[in-house]
Point group: C2
Chain length 281, copies 2
């Protein structure tokens, strides 16, 4: 049934910021942020193309940046505030892109707090910019950075399942923000590594290695398979390029964020549209 | 590679309007619309919660409504205008939700017109509001109104494929705007039927009939299967309800637009979130 309302006077607004600049918030979203008592920004599952200070200036509000630790351990503070005041929780892209945000919405509802969602574009729908039709996409996979000893590749089975059944796969690429090195973690030192964002190139190198290792994938995916790289989707410097895996691997997409699409069989319109992004042009 | 630019001085802006009111356009989108010389609104693949006049007042611009016929036959006029002027093509939801829009973007690019996209929320990502995680969705299906003699049900195979492989299915429900009756069509009379929007209930009745007819679907889908109905997602009167097919079928979701989700196996967080929308509460 409908979102519960009760006697709490506060509201938790979950507001999507879209993909690019401070100007990508919706008109309604901006009105709400401007009147909220507390404004939090989730800052570890995605990034905008602008700094926090730019947002603060635009909203005329202080914005508290919440990293993973803050969201996981201090979100009670935000929820408590939302019992009696209007509180905004800003999310890059749309609101329900990550389980964390669903969890926060659910906890707020359980506390009897009114939850309102202001949606926006996310990579999940904006990736349609490459011309592949959204309704042909299957499940989405996430690629994480490999280390020497940890090289998970189970996502390939989802890509294969999608591709074998005519569905494209959007691959979300790893983001490491405020990560500690193993040594600093063990020693309890709050020293953080610089942020890292997986590039399309790094993702394609993983795929290449998997193709070389696993014979069973090669009837569906090989080094000649068409892939589509997307960088900074929705931003002024958006870059989309498509081509065979082995060629796209060395294409320079520029700064983050990057995403990758592994297309399945394509319709003529999809092929035409994708052609306009071909690396060989 | 990147969107082509050439010496044409005009721009075609494809602008997503989001899902609810005139206030759901992004701040950047609004700035652009306000300065465009021509503003067109695509009006047959989806609807906003407000009238065109409300948009015109908000933009301070005349808005030309384009029905299917106008988009298919008169979009040349729009593209010609975009060669020398700033032209906005407004789409409810996000820009690349329908093949028609991809086609327009492609034709514009081929004519050397600069194309800029301003993304927004669409049902494709906002359906995450029910708590089912977007990355677990498989391909999207479209249900159209059945007639006595035309009852296509091939979409069920996509639902089954998704569900068997742990993927939820978003079902987009038919919209009939400016349709002619068979008689009026034959006689060439431009008399149009009132708009029709498929309800969750009508969609579930189709599914029920398919379940009764086709034994082969019953190991995956039956009258006890959990379904999720969504109405007016992102609007103030949003209504989400979940429950077994046979119970949800008689639930009143109110005015359009409606969508339906057939969930596959769910994660605990998805179950918790969906429970808050249970029809039996």
């Amino acid at each position: 049934m409908e979102e519960k309302t009760d006697k709490s006077t506060g509201v938790l607004y979950l507001i999507g910021l879209g993909l690019s600049t401070e100007q990508d918030i919706t008109v309604r979203g901006l009105q709400v942020v401007k009147r909220c008592k507390h404004v939090y920004l989730e800052g570890y599952t995605s990034i905008l193309g602008v700094e926090k200070s730019k947002l603060e200036e635009f909203y005329g509000r202080e914005v508290e940046l919440m990293d993973r630790e803050a969201v996981e351990s201090n979100s009670d503070e935000m929820l408590l505030a939302a019992r009696t005041a209007e509180v905004a929780f800003l999310v890059v892209g749309d609101v329900y892109g990550a389980t964390t945000h669903t969890d926060i919405a659910l906890r707020a509802k359980e506390m009897g707090i009114r939850v309102e969602v202001i949606h926006n574009a996310s990579i999940m729908n904006a990736c349609g910019a490459c011309g592949l039709q959204l309704y042909n996409f299957g499940q989405t996979v996430s690629l994480c950075f490999w280390t020497e000893s940890w090289q998970p590749d189970s996502y390939i089975d989802k890509i294969l399942l999608n591709k074998r059944n005519g569905m494209h796969t959007l691959c979300l690429l790893d983001i490491k923000v405020k990560e500690q090195s193993e040594e600093n973690l063990i020693r309890g030192r709050k020293i953080f590594e610089p942020p890292r964002f997986m590039t399309v190139n790094q993702a394609l190198e993983q795929l290449e290695q998997i193709v070389r290792r696993r014979e069973d994938v090669r009837d569906v995916l090989d080094l000649r398979s068409t892939c589509v790289g997307l960088a900074r989707v929705g931003q002024e410097t958006q870059c989309i390029a498509s081509g065979p895996l082995e060629e796209l691997k060395s294409f320079d997409f520029g700064p983050p964020l990057h995403s990758l699409i592994i297309p399945a069989e394509m319709h003529p319109l999809e092929i035409d549209m994708l052609r306009s992004f071909n690396v060989k042009q």
